[in-house]
């Protein structure tokens, strides 16, 4: 993946600048410089986020205002600490810094929810359940550092404030999980997730090492990086792509994996404690058991819904088969019923032209020629329909003999010569010696006829059509190349479908059967066909048919 696609320039610049700033932070001597540099990184990140939000008119649904506000509260908390340090005082506990920090969590959570539940999203209770399960799974792993360390001594109020931190983390985590279980993924979402996770990792490590923490501790990396990465998520303007995008409601593999990981984490914690002879608290065992049960029941749901969608798919498939069969029956009947009136038309027409009903003048003969040409066209269409229907029923019988494709190609070119000349198209055949294939002569004639007349039809006057036949390594190779209107890229994959007509075929006549027939004939012979085309420049069809005798040259 090119770096440009990975990160937009501004976001990359921000991340680079952030990395340098964090490096400088650790190089600074501990003390006031470091304390205020810390605040500076936070302020700069928040400013970058606000500048992106205002400067690019990011819509409200991206939640950028909440993320900016949440960051600002965290940075305010940091600043309070630095002010205390600057005035030479100890930071009391609890302080106004705690108030700022604790307000930051729900505000960031609100931002994640705005992004997750944005306009146009259906209500999705299951996604909430899954988010809570994922949160619980993470909580059970960091249970110890989160709750046990924080529940230190002090007044009830002190304890409440301390306890509010892990609760804040979990609220933020739940909101993130709600975004992530049903998210459409892109780079900004990844940055958001990374930012929030860094924040949680920092809090958890801090919780476990609170007693020994000092400003300049390596844990600061997580918080500082979190500021920079969260800002970068909004500086990358692709965050806007998420607005109004329909979120995934199904049980995707991704969601399934998250849930499974949570369940395994809950089990793993208990197993780990047992293996390391640690006592697991009763509360945790009960919590983990419920979590595992909840996730298992959710899996039940998931499999049921999978089963349902599979059944629906099957029903749709059966119905499609039925419709297809009906269509093929219809084609067979219609082509039979069209053949009967055509018999009278073509028969009486021939009698008329032969003078059985008296002499005809030039004008009359000319008109009858037109009638005849058109009834032949009609008959051809009927035959094509019938052939296609038979291909669908796999009822094509081939009369396989050795045929010289080169000779047949020359015939096809001669047959198309008149119409090519009429339209001012240069028609050229380059066939070397005989190129024998084991094939049904009539079908190969159809194939050549279709390809050559198509090439002539779709080439404007002054253009050129080249037919080449050669013996290649894999068999007889046939190329029909034109300098015509070409086939748009999106149409190429549908080219061989019956009744398909290219979007630029305009008023060139046809039912869209020719290439379907060509493909069917090639397939029936065990050959290959490929198309190469550029709109406005021309089209080349490559056909390879199995050769008659590989040992011919050696013999």
């Amino acid at each position: 993946v090119p770096l440009k696609k990975l990160l937009e320039r501004d976001a990359a610049l921000l991340l680079a600048a952030g990395t340098i700033a964090v490096g400088v932070y650790f190089a600074l001597p501990s003390g006031l410089w470091q304390a205020w540099w810390y605040v500076g990184i936070g302020v700069a990140s928040t400013a970058a986020l606000v500048a992106a939000g205002l400067g690019r008119w990011l819509p409200f649904e991206t939640g950028w205002i909440f993320f900016a506000l949440g960051l600002a509260f965290f940075v305010a908390g940091d600043a309070v600490g630095s002010i205390y340090q600057s005035t030479g005082g100890e930071i009391p506990f609890p302080s106004v810094a705690d108030l700022f920090y604790l307000l930051g969590y729900p505000i960031l959570a609100a931002g994640a929810l705005v992004l997750a539940l944005g306009r146009g999203q259906a209500r999705d209770a299951r996604a909430w359940l899954d988010a809570v399960a994922v949160t619980a799974g993470v909580a059970t792993v960091i249970w110890g550092p989160l709750f046990e360390t924080y529940s230190g001594q002090g007044s009830l109020f002190d304890k409440l404030v301390l306890f509010a931190y892990p609760v804040g983390d979990l609220v933020l985590l739940a909101a993130l999980a709600r975004l992530v279980v049903a998210s459409v993924w892109n780079v900004p979402v990844l940055l958001l997730v990374a930012g929030v996770v860094l924040q949680l990792v920092g809090d958890t490590i801090y919780g476990a090492n609170e007693a020994t923490y000092q400003l300049g501790d390596w844990v600061d990396v997580t918080w500082l990086a979190s500021y920079v990465v969260l800002a970068a998520a909004f500086v990358d303007r692709r965050i806007v792509d998420l607005v109004g995008k329909r979120r995934e409601r199904r049980l995707t593999w991704w969601r399934f994996g998250l849930l499974a990981a949570s369940g395994l984490a809950a089990l793993g914690v208990v197993v780990f404690d047992a293996a390391t002879h640690r006592t697991t608290s009763t509360a945790q065992v009960v919590f983990d058991s419920f979590l595992v049960l909840a996730i298992l029941s959710r899996f039940g749901d998931l499999f049921r819904s999978l089963e349902r969608s599979r059944a629906a798919q099957h029903a749709a498939f059966v119905e499609m088969e039925q419709v297809n069969r009906l269509k093929d029956e219809l084609i067979t009947v219609v082509s039979h019923d069209l053949r009967t009136p055509l018999t009278s038309i073509i028969g009486y027409l021939d009698l008329l032209r032969a003078g059985d009903a008296g002499d005809l003048n030039q004008r009359q003969l000319q008109f009858l020629d037109i009638v005849e040409r058109n009834s032949e066209k009609l008959l051809r269409l009927v035959n094509d329909l019938l052939f296609i229907a038979r291909v669908e029923e796999k009822r094509v019988a081939l009369d396989l003999r050795e045929v010289d494709v080169a000779e047949l190609a020359s015939h096809a070119v001669e047959a198309a010569r008149a119409s090519a000349q009429q339209n001012g198209i240069e028609l050229h055949a380059s066939v070397g010696g005989p190129a024998r294939a084991v094939a049904d002569r009539e079908r190969i004639e159809d194939l050549l006829d279709n390809l050559v007349s198509n090439a002539v039809k779709f080439t404007p006057g002054g253009g050129r059509v080249d037919v080449r036949v050669a013996r290649g390594r894999d068999g007889v190779e046939l190329d029909v190349a034109d300098t015509g209107i070409g086939i748009p890229r999106d149409d190429q994959q549908h080219l061989f479908e019956r009744f398909f007509r290219s979007s630029n075929s305009g008023n060139v006549q046809g039912a869209g059967l020719g290439l379907a027939i060509v493909k069917a004939i090639v397939d029936a012979h065990g050959g290959r066909i490929a198309v190469e085309s550029a709109e406005g420049r021309g089209t080349t069809f490559h056909v390879v048919l199995p050769a008659a005798e590989r040992t011919e040259a050696a013999a």
């Binding site: 009967t340 009278s344 009698l351 008959l379």
Partner: protein, 127 residues
């Protein structure tokens, strides 16, 4: 001695019946026409034609059944039969020949083709 060969023509489509009768009449054959399979069988037994040109899809006995019944009839077993049909799958042709038809001509056909096939079935050189 009747030197005009008698040809039985059967088709449920009156236009095609007239077309075939006209073309073959023009060749100097005497024509006896039937509008369905049962009538064709009756006429074959009553008139003893030298050739039968039968449409395959007809009410009251189709062309295949008529051919089989003719083949089963000791006195008509050797009567040449040309089947005309708008059903043109190779398997249809096979069915026709299995029923005992002498020849099989898909619709639509050119008058020239019909003349040639009929002459061949009668063992004549093209008149």
């Amino acid at each position: 001695v009747n030197h005009k060969p008698l040809v039985l023509v059967a088709d449920d489509d009156p236009d095609i019946l007239e077309l075939v009768s006209y073309i073959l009449g023009g060749e100097g054959y005497e024509i006896v026409a039937a509008r369905d399979g049962a009538q064709a069988l009756d006429l074959a037994r009553a008139r003893r034609p030298q050739l039968a040109v039968l449409d395959v899809s007809m009410p009251n006995l189709d062309g295949l059944e008529v051919t089989r019944l003719l083949r089963a009839d000791a006195e008509l077993a050797s009567l040449p039969v040309i089947l005309l049909t708008a059903r043109v799958a190779p398997s249809d042709e096979e069915q026709g020949l299995q029923a005992g038809a002498t020849d099989y001509l898909p619709k639509p056909f050119k008058p020239k083709e019909l003349r040639e096939r009929v002459a061949a079935a009668l063992g004549l050189n093209s008149p």
